[in-house]
Symmetry: C2
Subunit: 352 residues, 2 copies
Amino acid sequence: MSKPYVLGIDIGGTNTVFGIVDARGQVVASDSIKTRKHNKFEDYIAELHDGIARLLRANEAEDKIQGIGIGAPNANYYTGTIDNNVNLPWSAPNLPLADAVSRSFGGIPVAVTNDANAAAIGEMTYGAARGMRDFIMITLGTGVGSGIVINGQMVYGHDGFAGELGHVIVKRNNGRACGCGRTGCLEAYASATGVARTAREFLEVRSDPSTLRDLDIETITSKDVYDAAVAGDKLAKEIFEYTGKILGEAFADFIAFSSPQAIVLFGGLAKSGDLLLKPIRESMEASVMPIFKGKTKIILSELKESDAAVLGASALGWEAKTRAELTPDTSVVAASAAPVAPAVNPTVAEAK
Amino acid sequence: MSKPYVLGIDIGGTNTVFGIVDARGQVVASDSIKTRKHNKFEDYIAELHDGIARLLRANEAEDKIQGIGIGAPNANYYTGTIDNNVNLPWSAPNLPLADAVSRSFGGIPVAVTNDANAAAIGEMTYGAARGMRDFIMITLGTGVGSGIVINGQMVYGHDGFAGELGHVIVKRNNGRACGCGRTGCLEAYASATGVARTAREFLEVRSDPSTLRDLDIETITSKDVYDAAVAGDKLAKEIFEYTGKILGEAFADFIAFSSPQAIVLFGGLAKSGDLLLKPIRESMEASVMPIFKGKTKIILSELKESDAAVLGASALGWEAKTRAELTPDTSVVAASAAPVAPAVNPTVAEAK
């Protein structure tokens, strides 16, 4: 075993991407399968195993994998299961993800967490948050996810589900309906779909001219709004200002909670650059308690989006290895395991 | 040195209480001085030293103190200083509290934190949160303070000031002015003074009868509202329901952040019992994300209010001792010290 590797797996709603990652955080090779091809969880696991085994053979890495990390929606770090998932095709209250993958590879240690936590671990290990002990990762994709790091450790909470900052309430009355079943969540405003909703609202309520009016209002996307704003469209810019204001106000509350050194933004919407960053920073600084003014940085992820998911998960693979060595009676992170400070920790792309 | 002791000091706006505490968490003896008697910080420290020295002599404990813990407004765990204080008579951007107290006792290790954090450490060490790795302490006194514990560690944030949950925004538009200079903070609604403000608002805006109308509306207190509610006054009960609803909604957001096992309530207002607890629990359960429903308990502090401040601070005294042993070059918690998992941790009463 000359070069030790870990395996990072990112289970998304459409694709499951997996990659072999070396100790320096380089993705040696990667491949993917369709997440929704099989209606039975066992069949999915079997195909995932075959795909990974093929990749390992092609890279002569069969005996080099030290641990496997998996980022997946609703994955529970403590139990190794996917709980109450709504975005994946296999219905069961608890899918034994870590256990199934570990078994299929003869007991290699496996750790799982949700995609946004994996994103945070990747950022801490390989990205913009290297060396930070206190930061919050916010993923602005189809939804709004978050991974919180405090004292250098991921925050999992007492049940493994902490860090749902996309679902703090930013509008207490007459808020937008959210996919979680409630109203007024940050995600309903600050996700890519939230931006599209804001566009539809603005276009309906207001009468000022905008190039967005040339588009079909029902199918408008955040990308359309971005393109229009870049081209100078005033209403499109205001949509970003509105979005940034809401994010900045929410961030001010997050700062009152954990006073992070930085809030790291990741995901499609984060690529909007100053269109979004400027109003976020202005709103956050205007909203934050005096004692916190000018302290918390808003920065962008430094991980390439195509690699980030696998990299983040892979970092959790090193943790799975370390934990298995500390608790040699189990290869899967057990429900009773107390959260230890991860020596190395994980990320994943386009969380949620 | 047969019996090791620690010293707990609680610096309040009016009194500074200090006590000798043994390893089982018993307050062996305590005394106090007036906080505001001296306009010079040095004079205050000198009197504090004399008072403590007298107490130690009277209890034959001069050589038994292993560490000193101090809870004080705006005290910074990392630097050992009181920063930008507004409630104490000594004006300076950074008062070297830990250093001054340590020097006055020949270098005994000293650690400081703010009063609400001290309350949380006390609850974790001696109170209702024993054995919990993830909980939030909320102090409902003149203000609303908080101490957050995650993975068994206090959350200090990157600058030492994390855990200002009294200052998350619960009303984004036309919120009440808060002492922090902003508007709409939780503290402006859910503190004892917030309850009195609600009473004044309700009495002015509404016309239904209430025994509270017999009182001078300008000097009405939360105690008046409590007494009226206990006697069956409908409007007074509604004031508690209004307060509990706001707290429960805020708690639902806190749960989305750190998913604590429990939220522990402390302070004068927490003694209102079911008048406040029932609406908090109902509002929190109605507001929380489905994934968190029924998981987080709302419980009351188990520490006697008169002892809690000193006990909480004293627990930090043990931590100061441990830390001094780990970093023998300093007796005072230094700015660069990384937060270690406290073996034993601190509390203080009536935070804020």
